[in-house]
């Protein structure tokens, strides 16, 4: 009973951990009031997705996808997820930058950066 479960766990523990991180990030993104906290959650969420991708590319016993000198035979890991994630990291930092500048503007205009405070502020105007 416990053996196959353990096997299932250890065969894919990277995926489990990535999913747990994703859920932590997603919960923060949805539920937290503070807007900076939301962006921290967004960062955790995205990084967890990246971990998931890198786990896809991993090959047991593989080496980094940079050619070894000729004559050396090697098993390389799958390079495609790395390329995709390089692009996605850029997208992540761009979204973070835009989000932070929106937060700075909101703070300049309203003086608060949590959701309830902003809603209250909106109702007054």
């Amino acid at each position: 009973m416990i053996e196959p479960l353990l096997e299932l766990f250890f065969a894919r523990y990277n995926y489990w951990m990535a999913i747990i991180l994703m859920l932590i990030g997603l919960y923060t993104l949805i539920a937290k009031q503070n807007l900076v906290k939301k962006l921290i959650g967004l960062n955790i969420f995205q990084t967890a997705i990246f971990l998931f991708y890198i786990s896809l590319g991993e090959v047991r016993g593989g080496t980094a996808p940079i050619y070894l000198p000729e004559g050396v035979d090697a098993l390389y890991v799958n390079p495609l997820p790395h390329v995709l994630i390089l692009t996605a990291i850029v997208v992540g930092v761009s979204v973070t930058a835009v989000g932070l500048s929106l937060i700075v503007r909101m703070h300049e205009e309203c003086g608060v950066i949590d959701e309830d405070g902003l809603l209250k502020e909106m109702r007054h105007r």
Binding site: M22, L26, L29, I30, L35, K38, L42, F45, Q46, I49, F52, Y53, L56, L80, P81, L84, T87, A88, V91, S94, V95, V98, G99, L102, I103, R105, M106, E109, C110, L118, E121, M122, R125
Partner: protein, 497 residues
């Protein structure tokens, strides 16, 4: 190889270079921004028409970037469905670009015009890229270009409310982006490729895997957030209401339609109709949600007291119609759905242009302050009435034709109850359109210059609005010609020729 063969890539790359040119030229002289932007979008529109004609004549275009055939490289794949959407969105983008100048002068402020036009250009380019790419990860990259541009453009109204709306959209949009990324990863794990046609070829072998089901769910949820499909529409009303008029028109017509396009592309091209009917039966669920969306969107629209917000909720309702045609999944309904993508873009563009004009002149779009406005702005209100008639579905407008085909398809598939509810939804559309008509035409306003003075906006704003209003009518009258474009597209989606 002539230049025509490279048109699929030039339609993306030249506008990117043009956006750089806008930045540099604006640095030199701010007045140069607008003409460059307008010329670029008009050129793009012309190129889209050429591509559409070429696809109709010679069949699908496949352009291998870098000369690498898939699954190695990225390809641009344009078929009859793609090219139709491409022409539609660039038509609306061109109309918006003509409209934008005065509205931007009024609402954005002089020192921000340069960056506004750069982002405007990048938003349109990102959406064009999303439409014609044949690689699912490339789709994600262009989605993020357009999303980042859209977040900022919404906030460019520089009011606290627009910042909040933009941030909410940023949060939901990032969640959607993350879901799409997870979905792409799951597809990649199941098949090992990212090319859409390659995926379509390889996926049926692994249809039973939970990984594929999860990929389907994540991609559909992600793009449903972007397309504001009913329970996931929460970002939409604020984003549409609080952004500058030109931006509202652009995102409500072009951007929403491209998200719906991506949804169609994923459901019909990558996963096939066989998948959504037999393997993972979701069509019934989609029909149900789409019907709820139609009714709830219309009811919420009736309850609003602000013109722009009312139109925003009406968009939620209309997305329901398009998704309904997706759920019916037969030739006639899909033809109706594709017609409705074009028709809704045209009429909603026109309606938001009227709202923008009213804000331009009156400084507000609250319905209670617009009593008797038809006397002051006769052309705008007439355009509103015409586009509104199309929204309700009065023959012979395009809105009638598309709804007619959707209902016909639903009846053909035996969904009697849903067809009835769909007609009821049209009645609800009468509710919110009539509210404005009544206020504009049949209520007496407070003293507003005793009727002699007209408040009509400048011609550069009126012209695209009138053109779109007439287009609502003309497209409905000459619907036969359109069917020649839409028919092959629908049968392509269903897996035919």
């Amino acid at each position: 190889m002539t230049l025509i063969d490279h048109l699929p890539v030039l339609i993306i790359v030249i506008p990117i270079l043009a956006s750089l040119l806008i930045l540099l030229a604006g640095w030199w002289d701010r007045r140069l921004c607008y003409p460059i932007s307008l010329i670029t979008i008009l050129l793009q529109f012309g190129a889209a028409i050429v591509i559409l004609l070429q696809v109709m004549r010679e069949g699908a275009i496949r352009y291998y970037l870098g000369g690498w055939a898939p699954p190695f490289g990225i390809e641009l794949a344009i078929d009859s469905f793609n090219s139709f959407i491409l022409a539609t969105i660039l038509l609306l983008a061109a109309a918006t670009a003509v409209y934008a100048r005065r509205s931007v002068e009024r609402e954005i402020g002089p020192e921000k015009t340069i960056s506004f036009y750069v982002l405007f250009q990048l938003l349109v380019t990102g959406l064009v890229g999303m439409t014609i790419t044949g690689d699912i990860f490339n789709l994600y990259v262009f989605l993020e270009i357009s999303s980042i541009a859209a977040y900022t453009l919404i906030a460019s109204a520089r009011k606290p409310r627009s910042y909040v709306a933009s941030f909410n959209y940023l949060v939901l949009g990032s969640i959607a982006g993350g879901f799409i990324l997870i979905g792409i990863g799951n597809l990649y794990v199941a098949t090992g490729t990212l090319n859409m046609l390659d995926l379509a070829r390889l996926l049926p072998a692994s249809f039973e895997l939970a990984t594929v089901h999860a990929a389907f769910l994540f991609l559909v949820i992600g793009f449903s957030i972007k397309a504001a499909f009913f329970p996931l529409h929460l970002w939409l009303p604020d984003a549409y209401t609080e952004s500058p008029s030109a931006v509202t028109i652009l995102i409500s017509t072009v951007m929403a339609k491209v998200s719906i396009y991506a949804l169609f592309r994923i459901i019909f091209t990558i996963f096939s109709t066989a998948y959504i009917i037999d393997v993972f039966p979701v069509t019934g669920f989609i029909l149900f949600i789409a019907t709820v969306a139609m009714i709830a969107g219309a009811v919420l629209a009736i309850a609003q007291s602000d013109l722009k917000r009312m139109l925003a909720y009406s968009s939620v309702s209309q997305v329901g119609y398009i998704m309904f045609s997706l759920g019916v999944t037969n030739q006639v309904a899909l033809e109706g759905g594709l017609l409705h993508i074009l028709g809704h873009a045209v009429m909603k563009g026109c309606l938001f242009m009227v709202a923008g004009l009213i804000i331009y002149r009156m400084g507000t779009s609250r319905l209670s302050e617009l009593k008797g406005i038809a006397k002051a702005m006769p052309i705008s209100c007439a355009a509103f009435a015409l586009a509104g008639a199309s929204m309700i579905g009065i023959p012979p407008t395009i809105g009638f034709m598309s709804k007619y085909y959707i209902v016909l398809g639903a009846l053909e598939a035996g969904h009697w109850v849903y067809a009835g509810i769909l007609l009821l939804g049209s009645l609800l559309a009468v509710g919110y359109i009539w509210r404005f008509i009544e206020i504009a035409y049949f209520r007496d306003g407070r003293d507003r210059g005793s009727g002699a003075r007209t408040l009509e906006a400048p011609a550069s704003m009126l012209a695209p609005m009138v053109a779109l209003a007439l287009l609502c009518l003309l497209l409905g009258v000459f619907v036969e010609g359109l069917m020649e474009i839409v028919g092959p597209a629908a049968s392509l989606l269903l897996g035919g020729a």
